[in-house]
């Protein structure tokens, strides 16, 4: 199955919003002796944008990194509970974390393009997974990914220049293009705009709005306006617990918990 038909299939699947894509049950994470997450139950639905909000150190990033087993790379990190992707436990022995991360991509807080050319940055994922047959196909994937990330117009004539030479906002869009190029099912974003200025942030938000038709997106953010703007549902974390999750509008207008109320009105955090 080639890249284009896969994407088309995904677009068709966009109608299935509401089905559970990922499911977390009693997820506990500890770093050494300190427990950072105390049993989180949360569903991520198909092709939705789910925002994770909460004060610093509440465990939202830790939870996000459990979804593609990024925490496996930290030696002292211990995870218990169950997380499923399409009904399959991703912490099962039969699941290869490397393959999982191709299905659940990630965009990081600080733009981290490889110190290679713009083309090579985007082409890296398709290359290591080897799903292109020839150079032309690879070039097409790079172009499609850069177009989707809204970066093509700005960089199409300098694809061989280093990705690290772009501005911060462009670098972050390059990282999103790089993640899209692997054609993941879920994209995790860990505060993708916290290092960017308001204009670059607006561009990224527009981008999220566009690509949410094809991907399930989980985004961690400190910016509550951002959560309100981009997400369909919002989950509020506090001190390692999931306090509440619901439709974004409901969380911001009529929260069910006093702590959520306090946080969104700026009383703490």
């Amino acid at each position: 199955m080639n890249y284009e038909t896969k994407t088309a299939e995904k677009l068709m699947a966009a109608e299935n919003i509401g089905e559970t894509k990922m499911q977390a049950r009693d997820v506990r994470v500890s770093y050494g002796d300190t427990e950072a997450l105390h049993g989180v139950n949360l569903d991520v639905r198909h092709n939705e944008v789910l925002a994770l909000i909460g004060p610093s150190g509440c465990g939202k990033s830790t939870f996000l990194r459990c979804l593609n087993r990024m925490n496996d790379t930290i030696d002292i990190c211990r995870i218990s509970g169950e997380i499923t992707l399409d009904g399959q436990n991703i912490y099962d022995r039969s699941i290869d974390p490397v393959q999982l991360r191709a299905r659940v991509g990630m965009v990081f807080q600080k733009p981290n393009p490889f110190p290679k050319s713009i083309f090579d940055n985007v082409a890296y994922g398709p290359r290591i997974h080897g799903f292109t047959r020839d150079k032309e196909e690879l070039r097409q994937i790079v172009e499609t990914s850069l177009r989707r990330a809204g970066l093509w117009k700005e960089v199409h004539d300098r694809l061989d220049e280093p990705g690290t030479g772009l501005s911060g906002g462009q670098q972050q869009r390059l990282c999103i293009a790089r993640a899209i190029a692997v054609n993941p099912e879920v994209i995790l974003m860990d505060e993708p705009c916290s290092a960017l200025d308001p204009i670059a942030t607006a561009l990224i938000e527009e981008l999220i709005d566009e690509i949410k038709q094809s991907y399930t997106i989980v985004i961690v953010t400190h910016n509550m306006q951002q959560a309100a703007r981009v997400s369909r549902r919002t989950a509020f974390f506090h001190l390692g617990n999931l306090v509440e999750v619901g439709e974004t509008e409901q969380i911001f207008t009529n929260p069910g918990d006093q702590r959520t109320q306090d946080y969104i009105t700026g009383r703490f955090g």
Partner: protein
């Protein structure tokens, strides 16, 4: 909250009062003092370095030239025994060159037939002069019976006296050059027959008992073989070990024990590695003594910890964001390391490796233990043939008392320093060339 605040905190002008000004002045004075200490330290270090370099260069620069004496030699056929009409090369080679040259000297020098002058006459030319004449005649046998004008290498004593390295104003019995020889030297100088020219022996010959014929070529070739062995063994082994320990090995007691031991090995005196080389490579494995292969193996053991430590530090300095980016795209650990971390760490690894090699190039003690300080008069033709190396050649010459070897010791140090500077410059070049901007 306010009740615990110290009173000075609330007064106005906390940062503008006279006391505050004085505090600022003290801060700046401390800063200036520290900068001064730094400058003083650098000046002192540069001064010592300048003294060292000046001593070496002033003692050694004369070794790069040799004294030559121009003589007209009558190639008397009587000094050869020819049987046929055309002389064979054996017959030319067996000629009495000693006689040819002493007759030439007697012809050219005044008072050469004075009683007792024969001994002084023999001390004028180097043993190489006979070979020079023989080779000229072998190349062109038609010169036999002709008068040939040639430059001959002077003996080391004359060489040193002519270059002014030995004092003339001491009593004759305490000099190696007699009054008569000095008279001849002055005579030749007036005739324009004695002069200095570039000392090619220094770069084409191996060691010799005669200082004017001794050179560094054997040591340079020996050092080259050593570096070849060290580079081929220690760079792949060291970098491989560093990558494994830093990126792949589990962090447990065993690996931390290994890490501590690698750090300790870097501090082990190099002579211990020499002893190990002697005991293991020569005694147990029966490899040849004095061979560059054995020296290279001993130096490899010494260099490995340096390269491993430098490579690990270089790998560790690659920011975690790059690793996460690769993982996030579904790269395996090996892809992450070999596609991203290693290329970025390469300039640092290369620098560390070359510094390690440079350290091995200058190392002497292990070579003494495995016999690479032997007197060897030809350059090695393989890694198994006996050889010296640059530092051990310097050590041998420094042990010799002749004035000619004193200047050659300094010249050897200059050549070794030249190679070291070359290697370090390569390291800097490679780092600048491959360094990626972030």
């Amino acid at each position: 909250m306010t009740d615990t605040t110290p009173s000075s905190f609330t007064t106005h002008g906390l940062h503008t009062s006279a006391a505050a000004q004085a505090r600022m002045r003290r801060r700046y004075a401390a800063e200036r003092r520290f900068r001064l200490y730094g400058i003083a330290a650098i000046v002192a270090a540069l001064g010592v370095l300048a003294v060292l370099l000046f001593t070496i260069v002033s003692q050694g620069y004369t070794a790069f030239v040799n004294t030559e004496i121009e003589l007209e030699v009558y190639v008397d056929p009587a000094d050869f025994s020819f049987e046929g009409t055309t002389p064979t090369s054996e017959e030319i080679g067996a000629g009495n060159y000693r006689n040819l040259l002493s007759s030439a000297l007697q012809e050219n020098l005044p008072d050469a037939d004075a009683p007792g002058a024969a001994r002084d006459l023999r001390g004028i030319l180097s043993g190489q002069a006979y070979r020079q004449l023989r080779e000229t005649l072998l190349a062109d046998p038609s010169l036999i019976g002709q008068r040939v004008s040639m430059s001959f290498l002077a003996s080391s004593d004359i060489d040193q006296a002519f270059k002014g390295n030995t004092p003339r104003d001491v009593p004759e019995e305490r000099r190696r050059v007699s009054n008569l020889q000095y008279e001849w030297m002055d005579y030749l100088e007036n005739q324009g027959q004695i002069s200095t020219s570039f000392n090619s022996n220094l770069f084409t010959q191996a060691d010799s008992r005669q200082p004017e014929q001794a050179g560094l070529w054997g040591a340079i070739v020996g050092s080259f073989y050593l570096m070849l062995v060290v580079a081929v063994l220690s760079i792949p082994l060291g970098v491989g070990a560093a990558i494994y320990l830093e990126e792949f090995a589990p962090k447990n007691r065993l690996t931390s024990f290994i890490e501590i031991n690698i750090n300790n090995l870097a501090a082990v005196p190099s002579i211990i590695f020499g002893l190990l080389g002697l005991a293991v490579f020569i005694q147990v494995f029966g490899l040849p003594r004095s061979a560059p292969l054995v020296g290279g193996l001993a130096l490899t053991l010494m260099t490995l910890p340096t390269i491993i430590i430098a490579a690990r530090a270089s790998l560790r300095s690659i920011p975690p964001s790059i690793r996460e980016a690769a993982y996030g795209l579904g790269a395996s650990k090996m892809q992450m390391v070999f596609h991203h971390v290693l290329p970025l760490a390469l300039p640092g690894i290369l620098t560390g490796s070359i510094i390690g090699l440079a350290q091995a190039l200058g190392e002497t003690a292990p070579l003494l233990m495995i016999g690479m300080n032997a007197f060897i008069t030809s350059a090695p033709d393989s890694m198994f043939s006996p050889s010296t190396a640059l530092p051990s050649q310097i050590y041998i010459w420094a042990d010799s008392s002749e004035r000619g070897f004193v200047e050659r010791t300094s010249a050897g140090i200059m050549v070794l320093l030249g190679f070291l500077i070359l290697m370090n410059a390569t390291a800097i070049f490679l780092r600048k060339r491959f360094e990626k901007r972030w």
